[in-house]
């Protein structure tokens, strides 16, 4: 029997109230406005794998990540990590133990490190907060160990964040994430602020650490090539919904949802293989007022009446009427 997945996310929802102030609503007789940032997202992550969420800006990737680690309250649905519910108020005590097991790496290493703290203090903070090791000498030794682990020198601990380059700062952020012996790390666009050669260094480092410590990653990115390099399984988000979940290999060789295909076709082709592609049409709609039925239908070449009326539920990892009905064969073939 396969063990229960490490992270289980079931029917996760988040709504934001973006209404005008009460007085304006009364005077202008405008109704309340609700933005559904995340709308019924379910997936699970197995221990030791990298699950990636991809999608364009405003698709709700980061909101999901924040809800998974508990930085943002949920409006509905459930998150379970290592058999402990993140959403059930009765499990507060168990959750406190779980907290040290998960960490986050953010996009901007300039904003995520305190500029007034020396790096050794930044890295030691989780060690002290969770009492990972006792005694000042041991803490210093542990910080040096962590710095070496991420490819910096133990003496670098005496420096301030501004003395490091972007890539080095991201290494510090990774060292801090590992400091509490975390085994689940949520990475929200960890390399999108970095240059390609530095990005390669950080991605390689993240993979090495995963192998060494058996880390589980939830990896958020808009860059499909980076995701292809890192992920075991991939979830594609569009306007707050998960439209496809597939094994990484399968996603790139046989994308199923029309949106996934469109995204793949939009990636600039470095190999210049001259592969046939469908030109991309339209832009992501305003999430305050999303289209009816399947939210992708205005941009979808396969949309029909049913797509405009009825929101498709995920079947076998794909939420698309056309895929279920076998209409994908009709997808226009590019010349």
């Amino acid at each position: 029997m396969s063990p229960r997945p490490y992270v289980e996310v079931t029917d996760l929802k988040k709504v934001f109230d973006v209404s005008k102030p009460w007085l304006n609503r009364v005077i202008e007789r405008s109704p309340k406005q609700i933005l559904k940032a995340v709308d019924g997202v379910s997936f699970d992550i197995r221990k030791g794998e990298t699950f990636a969420l991809v999608g364009e800006s405003g698709s709700g990737k980061s909101t999901v990540a924040k809800m998974v680690v508990g930085l943002l309250g949920v409006s509905g649905g459930e998150v379970t990590i290592d058999n402990i519910s993140m959403t059930d108020p009765a499990q507060r005590a168990q959750r406190a133990r779980l907290r040290r097991k998960m960490q986050m790496i953010f996009q901007d290493p300039y904003a995520s490190l305190n500029p007034r703290w020396r790096v050794d203090r930044i890295i030691a903070e989780p060690i002290r907060a969770f009492n990972v090791v006792e005694g000042e000498a041991n803490i210093v030794a542990r910080v040096g160990e962590l710095l070496t682990l991420v490819g910096l020198h133990p003496d670098d601990g005496r420096k301030f964040p501004h003395e490091f380059s972007g890539g080095q700062r991201q290494r510090v952020a990774i060292a801090r994430a590992l400091a509490s012996n975390a085994d689940f790390i949520v990475c929200d666009e960890p390399t999108s602020a970095l240059d390609v050669s530095v990005q390669a260094q950080i991605l390689n480092l993240m993979r090495d650490l995963q192998e060494k410590f058996g880390l589980t990653y939830l990896f958020i990115s808009h860059n499909l090539a980076v995701v292809r390099h890192m992920a075991t399984r991939i979830g594609v988000m569009y306007l707050g919904r998960l439209v496809e979940v597939s094994e990484a290999k399968q996603m790139f060789s046989h994308p199923r949802h029309p949106y996934t295909r469109m995204l793949l076709d939009a990636v600039p082709d470095l190999a210049m293989s001259g592969r046939a592609r469908i030109p991309v049409a339209g832009e992501i709609p305003n999430p305050i007022n999303p289209p009816s039925g399947c939210t992708f239908h205005p941009r979808c070449p396969l949309a029909n009446e049913r797509c405009r009326a009825e929101n498709p539920l995920p079947i076998n990892g794909v939420a698309c009427h056309a895929v279920v009905e076998g209409r994908t064969l009709l997808m226009p073939v590019p010349a």
Binding site: V198, L203, N204, L224, A225, H229, F252, V267, V280, I284
Partner: protein
Amino acid sequence: MSDPVISVRNLQVEFVTRRATLRAIDGVSFDIARGEVLGVVGESGAGKSVTGAAIIGLIEPPGRISGGEILLNGRRIDNLPPEEMRKIRGRKVAMIFQDPLTSLNPLFRVGEQLVETIRTHLPMNERQARDRAIDLLTEVGIPAPEKRIDGYPHEFSGGMRQRVVIALALCAEPDFIVADEPTTALDVSVQAQIISLIKKLGRERGMAVMLVTHDMGVIAETADRVAVMYAGRVAEIGPVRDVVQRPMHPYAKGLMGAIPTLEAATDRLVQIPGSMPRLSSIPRGCAFNPRCGEAFARCCVDQPAPLPVGGRHVACHLYETLEAVR
């Protein structure tokens, strides 16, 4: 081949600071022909944007062009007085910036900004200029331009705003356009649309385009030729297919290997050790030598000059010795 529209000869740009004079651009040369797109790639601090700004005459003090020349249609433009340059800028050379929100004035309607630019450069009345603005918006693919022309920038989405900025650059039918990271602020699906638009406009109007970006994929899609810059110098310049698929300069090789691709799933990406040097401490000889796996004694002493090798120019001593052996 016809005469190049823009021709940069041994360009040097310096920034004078209290401590030292920093050389941001050191001996960059290239030509761009009519209808050609030259891609300029490199990491942050390589001097891509400064090169673009120098051509269009937008280097602000303490920066200055300290050497070399820039020719537009055979005429020198780098030493023109500011008043003269203002007439050329927008008329003959134009620029598309990275962030479409900051390059449009939020207080004016899109149409007003277009009409103002058109009338500054072309002898047209209000009516004619407005018709031309609508034509331009149609050309850059904005639906219902007669209505959208009276919208404010905030009413447009990111991709549509970038289209407006492109229309603004096209107002006076320039011969040369610098596009500085035009798709960096956009999502992939929109990026693909903007890339094909720039490519199409360049071809159809016979403009020379200098496309500055750090995204190799964008270059591979759009450019005819590509220049790889490192620490203010051109490491390799040549036809895009050759440079992207068979790079010769060790830095270009490393850069290409570092990019994850959709096609081949590799376990490890090629890693260039270290990072780009600061302008205040560019190493002697070849600027890349401390990070280069193939560096030898000469690399630490002599700065390599760009040499023609296999249909392109490569600034690397490795290929000099090869030539000598042959």
